[in-house]
């Protein structure tokens, strides 16, 4: 362990704490694992500070334990850790956007969502987007939900070749971290006007009633919008 090694490891500790303090951790991982990351950040900073102090004040203490078969030369590990930590400290991670939601091809299939809990049926407007999609997965008959009130938030996706007054409202669902994020979405019909007035990736809150419509030749649940309000992107873009 020389000073540069300690600096590189310490920088990673600082990076983990920075993600926590700036709230960017929510863009990267599921909130269940915040304590692990925060703890690791604190532990790393503490360990590095302690080792720095030992190096400075007690140079006689053992400081090397060379591994017999390093896969990477020492300098590489140090360089990789330090450079990625610096990039991480500079760049703000962005949540995934509508283009990625479209490319994943899962927006229209909805095969991966498993129900974890159900909201009471008498307050349908309290269901989030993912609650609706999970419900549909279990009981897909669109007529069962005709006329139910709905209030969902999400970002706008424009799938190619959809009618002029229709867009998709979508969210990403995360179980561990952004690496396993997959999109869920629902078609929204505007009563009149052009769906393109809301550019892709705009965050909206939509109030309306559930109805049915043709989506790619299939009869499906479509949200008939009554009131569309642009909102600020939430600090935590994912649903769980």
């Amino acid at each position: 362990m020389n000073g540069l090694d300690l600096l590189a490891l310490g920088a990673w500790g600082v990076l983990l704490l920075k993600y926590w303090l700036t709230g960017q951790l929510a863009v990267l991982i599921h909130p269940n694992y915040f304590p692990l990351t925060i703890g690791a950040g604190g532990l790393l900073v503490g360990l590095v500070a302690w080792q720095g102090w030992v190096r400075w004040r007690e140079p006689g203490q053992p400081q090397v334990w060379p591994e017999s078969h390093p896969l990477l030369p020492r300098a590489w590990g140090r360089f990789l850790l330090l450079s990625t930590a610096v990039v991480g400290l500079i760049v703000t991670p962005r949540p995934f956007n509508s283009q990625i939601a479209l490319e994943s091809g899962e927006l229209l299939q909805m095969t991966r969502t498993l129900p974890q809990q159900f909201r009471p049926a008498n307050r349908p407007e309290e269901r989030s987007l993912v609650d609706w999609v999970r419900l549909l997965n279990v009981y897909p008959e669109p007529d069962a939900y005709q006329g139910q009130k709905a209030r969902v938030t999400g970002f706008v996706v424009h799938p190619p070749d959809s009618p002029a007054n229709r867009f998709f409202i979508a969210r990403f669902v995360v179980t561990c971290c952004a690496a396993d994020a997959y999109p869920v979405g629902m078609p929204v019909d505007l009563p009149s006007g052009d769906a393109k007035q809301y550019p892709a990736d705009t965050w909206l809150e939509i109030r309306g009633k559930m109805g049915t419509g043709q989506v790619k030749g299939q009869r499906r649940l479509v949200l008939q919008a009554e009131q569309v309000t642009p909102i600020q992107p939430p600090a935590n873009p994912y649903l769980y």
């Binding site: 863009v27 030992v54 591994e67 949540p95 396993d180």
Partner: protein, 331 residues
């Protein structure tokens, strides 16, 4: 631009999720390195080939070391007359069958518990079968590197003795005051016992941070590969490869060999392929990756002769392939 941002988010989310587990793993293994004496376990291990293979594979629960830590331990145990079935079972099973690896796999695949059970089950099966096959060879010495074989007692003289390491230079040194060093093999096998309590803890911290630097570098390289494949490869290519029951398993076996991420965190690497690859393929990566990879081969060659490493590699790879392919086709 979108692709770059997506790649960076993917890259950092994998690292932020994985680094706490890596830190936990290196701290755990450093503490154990100094205080647990695997030699004592030898006295209670079963001698029967099958029982020994099972015991070896489960030994990882008591000595949680990932694949980078377990080859030196296996070498030490072999020089003391550990039966072949135990040694091979330990080499293949221990990196996966241990608490931290199972925890991180569960975190990554919370909505697919079959990945966790499948990982444990298949790893145990492969490790035990290969260990059993190797036990047919009563005298392991023709398979071993000459330096290790010399240290080994004859197969019948199965007494546990105080290890002598001087014939196998470990390349490990104690740093003493004034820039002097003391080779580990001249201190008896566990030289750390000579240190004061304060010095022992200092060694724990230094070992942990040194391992973290090394494994962290490998983790960053592997994560960059995962993020780059996700972002740069056209979706149709990934899906075409990842949805075929045979091609997906082949691709993941190759990836598991090339990408040498520590088993503690390789579940997160596999996770980034969860949407596009078959479950059997991900399982093949999780089972075979910790057993054989580029780093592991260079380590294994310090113990076994190339021919034996090839047998190990082929047997474990074929078993994993057949089992995960069967899972893809029949489950």
């Amino acid at each position: 631009m979108t692709a770059l941002q997506q790649g960076l988010t993917l890259f950092f989310s994998l690292l932020v999720e994985a680094i706490p587990f890596l830190l936990l793993g290196v701290l755990f293994s450093s503490v154990l390195l100094l205080w647990v004496e695997p030699e004592q376990l030898l006295k209670i291990l079963p001698r029967h080939p099958l029982g020994g293979a099972i015991a070896g594979a489960v030994l990882g629960c008591l000595l949680p070391v990932c694949e980078c830590g377990n080859v030196p331990v296996a070498r030490r145990l072999l020089t003391q007359g550990m039966p072949a079935s135990v040694a091979v079972g330990f080499l293949l099973g221990a990196p996966t069958i241990n608490p931290i690896v199972l925890w991180s796999t569960w975190v990554a695949f919370r909505d697919q518990p079959v990945m966790v059970w499948g990982r444990v089950g298949l790893t145990l099966l492969v490790a035990v079968v290969v260990g059993w096959v190797f036990s047919v060879q009563q005298d392991l010495r023709p398979f071993l590197q000459p330096a290790v074989a010399q240290m080994m007692p004859k197969p019948m003289a199965q007494t546990v003795r105080e290890p002598v390491l001087s014939g196998v230079p470990t390349g490990n040194f104690f740093a003493l005051a004034g820039g002097k060093t003391l080779p580990l093999e001249t201190t008896g096998w566990n030289g750390a016992r000579l240190l004061s309590r304060r010095g022992q803890w200092q060694l724990v911290w230094v070992t942990a941070l040194t391992e973290l630097r090394e494994l962290g570098g490998v983790l960053i390289l592997g994560t960059a590969v995962a993020a780059a494949i996700q972002v740069l490869t056209p979706r149709e290519v990934i899906l075409g490869l990842g949805q075929g029951p045979v091609t997906s398993v082949m691709a993941m076996l190759v990836l598991g060999t090339v990408v040498s991420i520590c088993s503690t965190v390789d579940a997160f690497f596999a996770l980034s392929f969860a949407g596009s690859f078959t479950a059997g393929a991900l399982l093949a990566f999780l089972v075979f990756g910790p057993m054989v990879d580029l780093k592991g081969i260079s380590l294994l060659l310090t113990v076994f002769r190339p021919r034996a490493v090839l047998y190990l590699f082929l047997l474990a790879g074929l078993l994993t392939f057949v089992l995960t392919l069967a899972m893809n086709l029949y489950l």
